[in-house]
């Protein structure tokens, strides 16, 4: 077997294998249709708590679709139809009685392209806590903003210009601002949809470091096109192909000893 990726960090995390004892997210037979297109077929997977799970696969394989099922962002697409079952802490998130706004407060999301609101840096982070009423006073809100920016590793760079527009930051800073905005509402899960695809390598490294730190407190799912990135930051990896979850396991296993031929071909760069 030809190995082009050698993930030393993943190897060092073999101890994390037992995190699947109490899965945070349980998906069973999830199917997604966009109109006539069957985008996701019978996906069943468990995702461990306070760990990083990477979704890899070629473009159009359904990994982003599945990610968007977890905070029900697919609801905003009128033609999308989701069937199956997704449980977060044993609660069915597609239960009609569940409030989707509550769900999205528990499941934060960071998008592919940095998308700060065209408002001040402070307002960007404060918006979530404000609409959820998380802060009782102005000082409390400032405290939340301060803490979130600090955890996103952005505080030192922006502390003197919180009133400046968020869109005036560099791409990497904008993405960290978006992460700060996501963690400001204290979610349990953070979904990241190719968060580094629009960033340069240095900004990417900062984000990856940050993901590694955030793992302490949050369950993170990251969709990525970069296998190196998956290897660097994740403990478990799921490989999607043509709407099917081909294989899921520890990152180490997936990268060194995949059971499926397709996984091996993709990882070694034979297609995709």
């Amino acid at each position: 077997m030809e190995m082009i990726v050698n993930p030393p960090q993943a190897l060092s995390r073999a101890k994390d294998v037992d995190l699947m004892q109490t899965p945070k997210i349980v998906a069973r037979n999830v199917n997604v249709h966009y109109g006539d297109k069957h985008a996701l077929k019978d996906v069943s997977v468990d995702i461990g708590e306070k760990s990083v799970t990477a979704f890899i696969g070629p473009s159009g394989c359904g990994k982003s679709t599945f990610l968007r099922c977890i905070n029900r962002m697919n609801d905003t697409i009128p033609s999308a139809k989701v069937t199956g079952e997704i449980l977060i802490d044993k609660d069915d998130i597609y239960d009609p009685s569940l409030d989707v706004v509550q769900l999205r407060a528990r499941v934060g999301m960071v998008f592919q392209k940095p998308n700060p609101f065209p408002k001040s840096i402070f307002e960007n982070v404060a918006y979530g806590p404000r609409i959820h009423g998380l802060a009782g006073s102005k000082t409390e809100l400032e405290e939340i903003v301060h803490r979130s920016l600090k955890r996103a590793g952005l505080w030192e760079e922006v502390k003197d210009r919180l009133g400046d527009s968020g869109t005036g930051l560099s791409g990497g800073q904008q993405q960290r601002l978006c992460i700060a905005r996501a963690i400001a509402v204290s979610p349990e899960i953070i979904l990241m949809d190719e968060p580094c695809s629009a960033l340069d390598p240095i900004a990417t490294a900062r984000i990856e470091e940050l993901i590694d730190e955030l793992r302490e407190n949050f369950t993170i799912i990251i969709v990525t096109h970069s296998m190196q990135q998956a290897a660097r930051v994740s403990q478990r990896t799921a490989f999607f192909h043509l709407g099917v979850l081909v294989e899921e396991g520890t990152t180490e296993t997936i990268f060194t000893n995949p059971t499926e031929r397709r996984t091996q071909d993709y990882i070694t760069g034979r297609f995709g």
Partner: protein
């Protein structure tokens, strides 16, 4: 050798390519040329229109007035009665102004002459005097310096549409038989025969008697003016228009041959009036000033008194009603259709029909307004309320389409970001999408309002085409709007209204330019790149 090179296949290919490139450059040059010609033609036509309107309209922004010292001695009011404002208001101030004018021409005693003299001042000339005196009754008995508006004909004369005047000093001694009435003139030289010779070439019918079909000849001598009626061999007879200070001789150079070049029958201001107006001008009584009255008075049958205030107030009230209805309705409809409406056949039908409505001729909306608002709901005719409602129908599609485009232009990532932190759909729209779309919505609204400001046809249908003197004070008063006022004035036969029409067009254009400028400014100022 040369032949071999030319004939080689590669060379031929290269030549063919060169020719094609040359042809391509020529085609591109031609296309650019056509473009430039099109732009130049458009600019030329635009320039012609603007220059024409400006030339016609700008004179209407100035006005001529006679500066008189008027003693406020009201015949029917003694100072004791002057306390009563009703009496003061009803007094005949026009007579005071008339008397002031007559005092400059005491020789005019005949009825026809007096009436012609009175015709030089506007029927509204005493308005300011009346206001002054009513406001301050203590002025009764004092002498006031007032500016009396000249009549429409006199106004046109001062603006140069009367006649050109040619003055030539007399070369010989002239003597005159009297100071007033019909007189005979005699001269030692050939001034008159030379004059007759010069004009006989141009006017074949110029005989011994000078009539209204040929240029008028006058003689200015001894401080007065004589109009020549007949030039025969030994006899030059005429009539005194302005009395002479003395009869007797005037030396060469001390008198003038004056010619009013436009024949009397071709102008509204006759020789006698020209003489009076020129005399007043020479005395320094004629003042030229900015025509504030054009903006402060309502419509009038007298051209010199007519103003656009009524139309401006009517337009403002109508647009206010339109805006109040259009902006909330249009924006709400756009937000619902763009963000919340289920995408099904019914919404599609509504969308298609909104686009169709934007293309419906405006007169149809006028008919609709007539049938629904006037006949069915019984709202008052000619009122800004109904005009505003009709224009709101007209502008709504424009605003909805512009607002939807503005909402659509906000990148979905902003909405997703808001949804991602747990905002509800409505919060995402109202907190993030709508504020970002607002500049676009406002731009569309302003352009829609500018469209409504210039709209005439539907307002004709609901009766806003009335002759309204007093500006409307509420949205249910009868009123007219600026474009309808232009339409009304353009229809009037009096020459004085031509300049008023053009001036009102200038005002309308300025408003449209300002509104469109505001739209462009908003767009530039709040433009965002993502």
């Amino acid at each position: 050798m040369t032949k071999a090179i030319i004939g080689s296949p590669e060379t031929r290919l290269r030549d063919a390519v060169k020719r094609r490139i040359a042809a391509r450059y020529r085609a591109e040059f031609r296309f650019r040329l056509y473009g430039m010609i099109a732009i130049a033609l458009t600019a030329l036509f635009l320039l012609i229109v603007l220059v024409d309107i400006l030339l016609k309209g700008l004179p209407a922004f100035t006005v001529h007035q006679f500066r008189f010292d008027v003693p406020v001695v009201l015949a029917d009011i003694d100072p004791a009665k002057a306390k009563d404002p009703e009496v003061l208001r009803g007094a005949d101030y026009q007579a005071l102004v008339r008397d002031a004018l007559r005092s400059h021409f005491p020789e005019v005693k005949d009825r026809v002459g007096r009436r012609r003299l009175d015709g030089l001042i506007s029927s509204g000339a005493s308005d300011t005097l009346r206001h002054q005196v009513v406001a301050d009754p203590s002025l009764v008995g004092k002498t006031l310096s007032i500016a009396a508006l000249v009549s429409a004909d006199a106004e046109l004369y001062f603006k140069g549409t009367g006649t050109a005047i040619d003055r030539k000093p007399g070369a010989s001694t002239i003597s005159v038989s009297g100071q007033e009435g019909p007189v005979t003139l005699s001269t030692s030289g050939s001034d008159f025969s030379e004059w007759a010779k010069a004009y006989r070439q141009r006017y074949a019918k110029l005989g011994e008697k000078l009539d209204a079909e040929v240029p008028s000849l006058l003689v200015a001598l001894n401080g007065g003016l004589v109009k020549v009626n007949e030039i025969s061999a030994g006899n030059i007879s005429g009539e005194v228009l302005l009395p002479l200070k003395s009869a007797g001789d005037a030396q060469a150079g001390a008198w003038q041959l004056v010619t009013y070049l436009t024949p009397e029958s071709n102008r509204r201001v006759k020789d006698r009036e020209v003489a009076w107006l020129e005399a007043l001008r020479a005395k320094g009584i004629v003042e030229r000033s900015f025509n504030w009255r054009f903006f402060t008075s309502g419509d009038s049958r007298e051209a010199e008194l007519a103003g656009i205030r009524g139309a401006l107030v009517g337009s403002a009230l109508t647009l206010l009603v339109t805006l109040l209805i259009c902006l909330p309705l249009g924006v709400a409809a756009a937000i619902y259709l763009e963000e919340f409406a289920p995408k099904n056949r019914a919404t599609e039908l509504i969308e298609v029909n909104i686009n169709n409505l934007a293309a419906v001729p405006s007169i149809v909306f006028g008919l609709l307004g007539l049938a629904v608002f006037l006949n069915f709901f019984g709202l008052p005719r000619s009122a800004p309320l109904v005009g505003g409602l009709v224009l709101a129908l007209l502008v709504l599609p424009t605003i909805i389409i512009a607002s939807r485009a503005a909402l659509k232009a906000v990148p979905p990532s902003i909405k997703e970001a808001a949804l991602g932190v747990g905002a509800s759909h409505q919060q995402a729209v109202f907190h993030h999408v709508l504020p970002l779309a607002m500049p676009g919505i406002l731009t569309g609204t302003i352009i829609g309002m500018a469209h409504a400001l210039g709209e005439t046809a539907p307002l004709l249908m609901i009766g806003m085409v009335a002759f309204i003197v007093a500006p409307a004070t509420s949205v249910t008063d009868a009123a007219t709007v600026l474009p309808v006022q232009i339409y009304l004035w353009s229809d009037l036969p009096e020459i004085g209204f031509q300049a008023k029409t053009a001036a009102a067009i200038i005002v309308l254009l300025i408003f449209l330019f300002v509104m469109n400028g505001a739209a462009i400014y908003l767009r530039k100022k709040f433009e965002r790149r993502w």
